[in-house]
Subunit: 365 residues, 2 copies
C-alpha cells in the first residue's frame, strides 16, 4: 500500500506498543494518530498513566518501525486503523478493539457476517472432519469462517470456509510476515489469495505465548457466534468461548464421548450455557432467531466528525451515565459534554434518561 | 402372602380395570377398597362417569381374579395398596399413583432413595457398559437403581445396581408372573432374590404395547432423578424423561458423538434443559444440592385415620383452595369439610390462607 503520513503515524503508534485501551483513550482525546503524536508529553500524561505516556515520549524503535513500513510498502500488504471507514464495526462492540491492525487479502470480508470455529491443535481426525464440514456448510450459507490459523481444528475450519462463498479470516498471533505453525504455510497463502489474514502484531513479531490468548478476543470479536469443536479442558478455545460470551456472542459446542478428553471442554461449555449442536443447521436456526438483536450494533464513533461527540460516545457505554461521569471520563468541560450529548440525541445516537442520565442507543447495521 | 378380605378387595378393584385416577376418586369417597365394593352402583355413579362405574357393577372376570389370588398365595408374592403404611410416599407426589401393585422382593427398597437409569433396548456395548458403571457407582452411594427390565440399557442398569448396597427395582410392563423379554429371566430372578420387581398389571398380563409407556411413570415416580444413557429419538426413555420432568424429578443425559443415532435422544434432552453429565459424581453433586427440596414430600393421605380428612387432603392439592371447591370435589358437607380442615391444621397437614382459602403443607420425609 502507499505509506502516507497518516499511515506512518498509525504504524508509529502500533510500534510504540501502547496497550489498546490506553491508545483508545489517547485517540479519543486527540482525534487521530497524528493528533496523539503531535500532542506534547505533558498533554498526553493528562489522559494516561505516566508509564504509558513514556512509551510515546521515547523515540520509536527504528528497527521495528522500518520493518513495519517496509512490509507495508509491498503490494497487498495493508494496515487498517480505527478511523478507517472499512474498520469492522463489530470490533467496536468489544471492550478493547485494536486501534490498528495489519492485513493481507480481501478487506470486504471484514464487514461480512463472521462465525468462529475453534478447538484443540492436536484434535482427532474425526474432530477435524467435523470442523471442516461445519465450516463448509456455514460458509455456503454466507458466513465468513474466523479462526486462529493454529493446526488441528483451526486449520480444518479455514479449509472448510475457503470451500464456499463465505470464505475465511485467519487472525494470527504473530506478525503479518510470519506463519505459525510453519506447516500452515500453504493454507496461509490460500487465505491471503482467497480469504483474509489479519494481525494486530507488528511485522517481525515471533510466536509469543502471551499473544495467542490476546488474539482470541479478535477471533470472537469478528464473529456473531463461536463453535468449539473438540477442546480439552486446557485448550485456548475455551478462552475464546469465554471472551465470546463476554462480548455477547452466541457460544456453541459439539458434544462427544464422555471417555474422550477432547470432549471435556465442549461439555463444560454446554453445562455453563453454551448451546449443544449436532448440525450446522442447528447453528443457522439459532443465529436466525438471534439475528435481529445481533444486527443492532453500537453506533460507531468513527463516523462522527466532531471529536467531542466521538469522545462522549466512546465514554458512554450502554449503561446509564451522568454528565459528571462523562466529564471525568473524557476530560472535556461539562458544557462541551452537554453540547455533544444534545447533538448526539438529535442524531439518535444517545438517549436521555430520567435523572439527568444518558445512554447509547443501538441502531440497525 | 396371606390373602385376607382386605387383600381380596384390592385385587378385585385391580382386576376390574378401573383407571388409577377414577379409582383414587372412588377411594377418596368410600375410604378403602372394601368401601368402594360395598357401595351401591348408584352411590359409585355419583363420583365417577357411568362407564367407569359399570366396570365395577359387573361381576369380576373370575379367571383373572382367581389367577391373581392364586399368584398371591405363593410365598414371596405380595400386593401393595394405597392405604398400606409401606406404600412409597414418593409415588403420592405423582399425578396418577397406582392404587395397588404387585411385587416380589425387598419391600424396604420402596422407601429407599431411588434413581432411574433408562435408554435404548438395542444400545451399543459402550452404552451398556456406561449404564452399568453409573448404576454401580450410584448404588454404592446409596441410591436404589430403578429401571424397566428391558434389554440393553435397562438390564445393564439393574446389573450395576445389584452390585452394591443400593440394589435395584424393576418396574415391569407385564403381569408379575411374566418376564419380558425372556432373555432377562435370570436377571429377574436375581432382582427378586436381592432387589425388587413390581408391576401394576395383574398376573397373566402379557407384554402389551400400551402398557410400557404407562409403566414408565412409575420408573420416574420412584426416583429422585432419571439418567438417559443412549437413546434414539423414538426411544421410550424419552417418555420416561418427559414424565420425570413433569413429576419434578431431575433429568440427566449422557452426551455422545453427533454421528451416533443413540446420542440424539440425550442431546435433545440436554437442549431442552436436562443436565449433561460425564460422571456419577456429577449426578451426586446435583442431587445433593437439590436434596433439601426433594425431601419435602406431600403429606400422605394414607396415614390419616379419618376418611373425611383423607378426602379433603386428596382434594386439596398445593394450590390455595376455598371450602366451596372442597365441598364440590369431595362430596362432603361444608361443616364436615371445615371440621376436617381444622383437625388437619392442628396436625400441620394444611395451612389456612387469607381469604378463607386452604393449602396443603409439605413436611420433611
Amino acid at each position: 500500500m502507499i505509506v502516507d503520513a497518516r499511515v506512518e503515524a498509525w504504524v508509529r503508534l502500533q510500534v510504540a506498543g501502547v496497550a489498546p485501551r490506553a491508545l483508545v483513550t489517547l485517540l479519543r482525546a486527540f482525534g487521530d494518530a497524528r493528533g496523539v503524536l503531535a500532542a506534547s508529553p505533558a498533554q498526553r500524561r493528562r489522559h494516561v498513566p505516566t508509564d504509558v505516556a513514556a512509551q510515546l515520549d521515547m523515540a520509536p524503535d527504528s528497527g521495528r518501525l522500518e520493518a513495519a513500513l517496509a512490509w507495508l510498502r509491498e503490494p497487498g500488504h495493508e494496515v487498517m486503523a480505527w478511523d478507517d471507514p472499512g474498520y469492522p464495526r463489530v470490533l467496536l462492540e468489544i471492550a478493547d478493539p485494536p486501534p490498528v491492525f495489519y492485513f493481507q487479502g480481501r478487506r470486504d470480508l471484514l464487514t461480512a457476517p463472521g462465525f468462529a470455529i475453534v478447538g484443540s491443535r492436536n484434535a482427532t481426525p474425526q474432530g477435524c472432519e467435523d470442523a471442516e464440514a461445519f465450516a463448509a456448510a456455514l460458509s455456503a450459507a454466507g458466513f465468513t469462517i474466523v479462526s486462529g490459523l493454529a493446526q488441528g481444528i483451526d486449520a480444518a475450519a479455514h479449509r472448510g470456509g475457503l470451500r464456499h462463498a463465505g470464505s475465511s479470516i485467519a487472525v494470527t498471533g504473530t506478525g503479518p510476515d510470519r506463519v505459525y505453525p510453519a506447516r500452515n504455510r500453504d493454507l496461509a497463502h490460500e487465505l491471503v489469495a482467497r480469504g483474509l489474514v489479519i494481525s494486530e502484531f507488528g511485522p517481525g513479531t515471533p510466536p509469543l505465548k502471551q499473544n495467542f490468548p490476546r488474539r482470541n478476543r479478535l477471533v470472537s470479536g469478528l464473529s456473531r457466534g463461536v463453535l468449539v469443536v473438540e477442546a480439552t479442558l486446557d485448550s485456548g478455545s475455551l478462552i475464546t468461548a469465554r471472551l465470546a460470551a463476554e462480548q455477547g456472542r452466541e457460544v456453541f459446542a459439539l458434544p462427544g464421548s464422555i471417555h474422550s478428553p477432547f470432549s471435556k471442554g465442549g461439555h463444560r461449555l454446554i453445562r455453563d450455557g453454551a448451546k449443544l449442536v449436532e448440525t450446522a443447521q442447528d447453528i443457522l436456526e439459532e443465529l436466525a432467531v438471534a439475528a435481529p438483536a445481533q444486527r443492532m450494533v453500537a453506533s460507531a464513533p468513527t463516523e462522527m466528525a466532531d471529536p467531542d461527540a466521538r469522545a462522549v460516545v466512546g465514554a458512554l457505554g450502554h449503561d446509564p451515565t451522568d454528565v459528571d461521569t462523562l466529564v471525568a471520563r473524557t476530560g472535556l468541560t461539562a458544557p462541551a459534554v452537554v453540547a455533544a450529548l444534545t447533538a448526539l440525541e438529535l442524531e439518535r445516537v444517545v438517549a436521555s434518561l430520567p435523572g439527568g442520565r444518558w445512554q447509547r442507543t443501538s441502531r440497525p447495521e
